[in-house]
Symmetry: C2
């Protein structure tokens, strides 16, 4: 297949690129390095230094020459149009969004830039697809955070509603807990508008917090590894806990830690997206999958890390700190996730071995860990 | 009261300004004239030439000196912040949005500008209120079009949902039929995010298509009249039908004309907003009103215009033309609107007299009617 990957430099974008390159797909990569720039501005850094895309591509191109990279901002409509007109991909995987809740809540500037970048990149993409290649399959990363923590079961994207003896089917009601999450809700609304009116075919993946390293492609070549962040702004919780354990600092649980979410290993993220690539929706259909494999409370995750790492002589401690976020700590949470399993996902569930493997990887870069960037500094 | 009016130059903004000025409120007016500029760009013009705000203010200031005007773009955060910091209003009425469905569907540029302007003006406003005067009452114009045409009754903003023996209350599911409508849905989502997390108090008015002239303030002074548009892009349907009748051209019904909507006279719009000004929601409450007084199909409206104007010797004809919009023509529609009546609204319902009064007003400017700008030129 000919696949366009937007946001190819990111944690998921690069993992996806490496994996699809190995499968010998023709790839068109796009990134504007904006996340790198924001991380620099905010003095955050990943666990290891990431070479730029062209440098890493040299290694991938040893086995697959059909890869091209554009350093391009997806919120630039003319440039996006030129790329899509030239390459006419069979599918687009859209990761080109600012991915951080704390970043979006830092101040007015970053809040608006999150809304603007995420909405405009999605708007430009879908406009180009509608006008140039309406049959192209768009795969878009959403987030489980779009649903918030409602007091009813979380269905996969849609809800049948009976009201006063009449019925209709709607997008499941969404309530985000940060501007980042609000931007993803707006994306989903916008996509559904275009799908129902212009018969596009789109897959929207409501993904839970991701953890781990997608290692297949680069076990022997660190240059191919994706960004791994653990800081308060760009890191995700389980990766951060493991880094804290390796760095011999307490695992910082926000508030009581009773907050429940659905989690997924990045290895499974890649498997899920590959499954959806093979299962294009009908024209006029927005297929929504809840992309997580297990539910945990934050406290459970911390305890699991602590318990698992004893086996390799890491004695982690847990520290409950004031919750920097406005969120319900005690809440009902029951999210469905069978759609992706029906496509054939065999999940890699969280286990002591999985945690130990990540810890070993982190430990190789232990001297790079910067403890100053871990404690939360953005409050809302 | 000290009231900030955003978008004070518009059809509703200026009517509101004239009326509140008469009531002797202290008014801070903001507009960047962007609608005038877009109308010029697109070669559309209102029924009569509108002097700029400072010129019209001279007349209002004869009786109320506490009015100030800023020619300012609400999507400029620093300028908005300076105005709100300086004046600290008791309430803000937010009309500063691009109001046209066809405009938003014209091309990528205008589509994005509608999303960007409407979302960013709302974002900036709410950020300033949160940071500077969190008790200030925001009154925001939404649209009945946010709901679309669902197969269940349209409640006023909220829906109680029972699902698998559990229940919760959500924003009523929304499905717009243009990017303009999508932008208003995003606004509502964004506002609710800030209200629930920061205890703001906001009133969101889901208004149906407006018609008429708010005449009280300017019966003898045309210089005080608000913008009256009738063209394919910025005009609303009933005003357009009356202009077509006066201009002796057929009333253009889009498609079968079976589309049902809830309509309101601009006179009632002003009354509704004044009622909500007196009824501030609790902090942490988003009060939503469906602001229309009667439901009609487009066909019924055309027939009512035709029938009413016979009395003043205007023989209107009706022409069904291909629907330029993607919308359901045959659909269920039952929208609730009792909340605003509970506050005390005595509606001015549509009648032959109301139609004749508007027609007489239009007739004074008959020579200015440009027939070329009435037929729909934007298709989606």
């Amino acid at each position: 297949m000919k696949i366009l990957i937007l946001g190819a430099d990111g944690y998921l974008g690069w993992s996806m690129t490496a994996s699809l390159a190995k499968d010998n797909h023709e790839l068109i990569l796009v990134d504007n390095y904006s996340k790198r720039k924001y991380m620099e501005d905010l003095k955050r850094k990943p666990l290891y230094k990431m070479p730029l895309v062209p440098q890493r591509l040299k290694n991938l191109k040893k086995t697959n020459k059909k890869i091209i990279f554009y350093k391009t901002d997806c919120s630039d409509y003319k440039k996006m149009k030129a790329i899509i007109t030239k390459h006419k991909p069979d599918a687009v995987i859209h990761f080109a969004e600012l991915p951080s809740a704390p970043f979006s809540m830092l101040n007015n500037k970053y809040g608006w830039e999150t809304l603007q970048n995420n909405l405009q990149s999605t708007f430009n993409l879908i406009h180009c697809i509608k006008d140039i290649i309406p049959d192209c399959h768009i795969i878009k990363l959403g987030t489980m955070g779009e649903y918030g923590t409602p007091n009813i079961d979380i269905e996969e994207g849609w809800l049948n509603i009976n009201h006063n003896n009449r019925k209709d089917k709607f997008l499941y009601p969404r309530q985000g807990s940060s501007l980042y999450h609000m931007s993803k809700i707006m994306d989903t609304d916008l996509i559904w508008f275009y799908v129902r009116n212009y018969n596009l075919n789109v897959t929207d993946l409501m993904q839970g917090p991701v953890y781990g390293i997608y290692h297949d492609e680069f076990e022997k070549e660190d240059i191919l590894a994706p960004t791994f962040t653990y800081d308060d702004i760009f890191g995700t919780v389980l990766n951060r806990f493991i880094v804290q354990a390796v760095a011999e600092t307490p695992l910082t649980v926000y508030g009581s830690g009773a907050q429940i979410r659905g989690y997924i290993n990045v290895v499974d993220t890649i498997k899920c997206i590959k499954l959806t690539l093979k299962n294009r929706p009908q024209n006029g259909e927005l297929a929504i999958y809840n992309q997580f494999t297990e539910q945990f409370s934050v406290r459970q995750l911390a305890q699991l890390v602590k318990k698992s790492l004893k086996a390799i002589n890491i004695n982690a401690t847990i520290s409950n700190i004031a919750n920097p976020r406005i969120e319900k700590e005690k809440h009902y949470y029951n999210a469905k996730n069978s759609n992706i399993e029906k496509l054939g996902l065999k999940p890699l569930k969280l286990s002591p071995k999985v945690i130990i493997d990540i810890a070993k990887y982190v430990n190789k870069h232990k001297d790079r860990i910067d403890k100053r960037i871990i404690k939360p500094k953005v409050n809302w």
